[in-house]
Amino acid sequence: MSSNVVRDDDPKGGETRLDFDMEIVISYVLITGVVISLILLVAGTAAYAIAHHSLALAYSLPQVNLYAFISLTFVHLFTGVFTAKDVINLGIIALMLTPYVRVLFSAIYFGAIEHNMKYTLFTTFVLTVLTYSLFLRL
């Protein structure tokens, strides 16, 4: 599946051939995020099972937004109280960040590369709503 990277500068024609590159990037962001998440979840569960002699992950997540959740987990990482729970939590965090990073890349692409103001606006809207809901809400 080779593609000629020929720039189509006709504004009415619409899509430049650089579309193809964005799609490859998005594709890798998605699959990488899922794979990292699964590895962390499985590894964390295994470590937990060894430490607690039980597969039942009997702990709760703090009732906080994603920003606080990420901060908490990284504080544990840097202060050395890092446990299996934190690995599992990182897996959940990685999974949640996957679509977010994907939208972020799309925003950068539409804005900086395709210079498509409409879609930069739409993507920024989506990003803003997600950012509020994930990181800012109480």
Binding site: L55, A56, I92, L130, L134
Partner: protein, 276 residues
């Protein structure tokens, strides 16, 4: 061992979901609540997180094959994410019975919809209203089956967008991908070709699920004991499901799935009424 049971149930849900193109969530929440007696909101929270995994996994392939239309997806996501947040808020503030009832009705509606499944259009739509043209809702894809490049245009952007809010609402409320509903909207309302409908819907589902997940996370409803085996199980199940799909006949799978939908839908409705 509860964790293993949940894991196995999730694999089953993931497989059936992938085999029928309906997504695991639709079966997962009923399985968890009816078989494992998991609290319905916890089940929904676990399910919606797993939807991120399954949708991102498959969307990754479709995007690379240039079947999903990123612009159409992004435009519609504006509506679905608002819907998902509203839906999640509704669930968080509702009583369990109400949620069971809605879930049951959605399952039964899916059963009916499958019964009367419309034939997907064969020829690509090339007519577009002005808003849709302004929004650049068009594209082309290479159809491996016919060996041709198909150009298409999406239309009725305003109506499609509004309906997608509803699809997002259901997704956020019930913890499902609502992919089937989204595909219907893409296909019947926006007149996108089937391969673009399904793949773009898939693409949208992940971001929509993330919006919903954010609400359930903040509410403290994501319980690792349920969510982790679910995420891993459903992802594995859907991977196997797509492989097995090739070997079974479409009609047999569809019939089996319809029976399951009917049974689960009825049980959920009965729960909602307080009978079960």
């Amino acid at each position: 061992m509860t964790t293993i049971l949940i894991f196995v149930i999730s694999i089953a849900a993931g497989m059936l979901g992938a085999m029928t193109g309906q997504g695991g969530g639709v079966l997962l929440v009923p399985f968890l609540t009816l078989i494992m007696r998991v609290d319905v909101k916890t089940a929904i929270a676990a399910s919606i997180v797993s939807v991120i995994a399954t949708s991102s996994g498959s969307a990754s392939a479709y995007v690379r094959d240039r079947l999903s239309n990123v612009k159409i997806g992004m435009y519609l996501e504006m509506f679905t994410i608002i819907g998902a947040l509203v839906g999640a808020a509704i669930t968080l503030r509702s009583g369990g019975h109400f949620i069971y009832m809605i879930f049951g009705l959605v399952l039964l509606a899916s059963f009916v919809a499958l019964w009367f499944k419309p034939d997907m259009g064969e020829t690509a739509n090339l007519k577009q209203d002005r808003l849709s043209a302004f929004l650049e809702l068009h594209g082309e894809y290479y159809d491996q089956a016919t060996g041709k490049t198909v150009a298409y245009k999406g239309t009725r952007a305003a109506f499609g967008g509004t309906l997608m809010f509803g699809a997002g609402l259901i997704a956020g409320m019930l913890g499902i991908g609502a992919g089937a509903l989204k595909v219907l909207i893409h296909d019947l309302v926006m007149e996108l070709p089937p391969k673009v409908s399904t793949t773009t819907s898939n693409f949208i589902i992940g971001v929509t699920a993330l919006a919903g997940t954010s609400a359930y996370l903040a509410a403290g409803l994501i319980k690792p004991s349920i969510a982790v085996p679910v995420i891993v199980g459903v992802t594995i199940g859907s991977r196997f499901g797509t492989r097995v799909l090739v070997r079974l006949t479409n009609a047999a799978v569809r019939k089996f799935f319809m029976v399951v939908l009917f049974i689960l839908g009825s049980e959920m409705v009965l729960r909602g009424l307080g009978v079960l």
